[in-house]
Point group: D2
Chain length 160, copies 4
């Protein structure tokens, strides 16, 4: 039964560097190998690379789309959710996951990091934003070096 | 691959009559038998009965939840989507489906019927609302008599 | 101070009959005369006619827009709220009001009637939907014959 | 007519330091003096301090609330918008403004900064987040030292 499964979100922009796309594909593969369901925003770039990786290992992929049609989903999204609420769907992407892996540095990704941290959902980072306020580093984003480490950290933080 | 699958939403209130709950369970069973993925609002009543029926036949169930936690999902939801947007998630429930089957007559269901018809998504009815404006009947809701007829009508209208 | 003011929503479609547009303008005028702030979806048709009527009597008009820009607002909206959430903004239109006046019969209006009734917000109707379920009339929409009667009914129901 | 007015959002958390609350009140006063309509999330902390400042100078204050009731609005909100969409309303707060002034460093504020920058809406900062990605500083947030400078920068960036 799927409802015992874990759900982890992969967040990242539509125009990643080739290195970021590789990281995303690796994260998708690793999630699938560990039996985790991948949640994402359903579009291109990091989202597509992660779904592609997951599908290559037989994983399940959910794309929570901003627009009015499932046709905007990348070809590796198996379960398209059509919200029609634009970027407000970023909230649903992170809330539908027990942990979030952020790859790269778009502003949409930054908004999702904010929503996740506000909701107490752990954020694991790969080549992504780092934050400080009033000159003091904020270490809420857990930095990792590669897809395997990122997925393992995420899984460790979703024991509930 | 799931992305060739059809998605049909079952909408209905949290406090159905026992007859409506039976209809919902029958619709869920029939959708699963036909290989259709069931989308719903994820809570109790009609939503739960439909998910229960689908799961009993090995079907896949998606619950698009209004609140902040997947824990509000009924026990037969396999894929909980946590939107955090309250009743505005009604829009996502209907937009994520190629057709909608409405059972019973809550006001939330009425809002979903309105959103579906506004988006050109077919609405099939079982014991549900009927509409008229300025004294003239509106026949947009396709009335059916039993779960099998409802599911067949819905599938006929999702050929695209 | 405005925060003692009453807020009433006028809901209706973008392509009203000329009679419906006249009713909407009359409702807008009457709301302004009574010192009520008008809330609407901010676009054309019934929404524009109501805002025009309100502005002609010096009233305040709020348009809660579905899209990404305030430029879609009709010219009589003084306070554009840009939600970016598409038709899900219908929920915000009705929840921001203490009562709702529905004019005409678009499906978007039907969704708003459903959301309002689900939230316990009174709905007053002018040439709008009437509802029945399982063959029984539902009298939740309070029928009125003209703008003055509609506004007076709405105000009577917002004493809290 | 209000529709020639400028709208500027003040974003910040519910538990500011006393210095941040003072900055927020100063920003509210300055916005009101310059005839700008203040948009915010409608709750306490930075939002309340900014509304208080604006109201003390006769300004107009809009609070775009996350919950289901206008009663959660702080006492200085004149125009409560009740969205019912939770933190997804953060998108509406920034999109309803031509520029955003961020005060302090909550995670909700971070999400709003992300949404604003993603939409091309200028962000002016007072004691707020600073951002870097992959070790490189991102200078999108325009840093200022006091309320007058923040409001002037914001107004300069809203000439359209």
């Amino acid at each position: 039964m799927m409802n015992k499964k874990k759900f982890i979100a992969v967040i990242g922009g539509r125009q990643p560097s080739s290195q970021e796309a590789q990281l995303a594909e690796g994260v998708g593969r690793e999630l699938a190998k560990q039996g985790v369901i991948l949640v994402c925003g359903g579009l291109g770039g990091v989202m597509e690379a992660a779904c592609k990786g997951a599908q290559s290992e037989g994983g399940v992929t959910i794309g929570i789309l901003p627009g009015e049609s499932h046709q905007a989903a990348n070809p590796y999204v198996q379960i398209p959710i059509v919200t029609g609420i634009g970027n407000a769907r970023n909230v649903a992407v992170v809330k539908s996951a027990q942990a979030v892996i952020a790859i790269g540095g778009s502003y949409g990704t930054l908004s999702e990091i904010g929503h996740a941290l506000q909701s107490g959902i752990p954020v694991i980072g790969l080549n992504t934003w780092s934050l400080s306020r009033n000159g003091q580093q904020d270490n809420s984003i857990i930095l990792t070096q590669n897809p395997t480490e990122a997925v393992n950290k995420a899984l460790n933080l979703t024991t509930k």
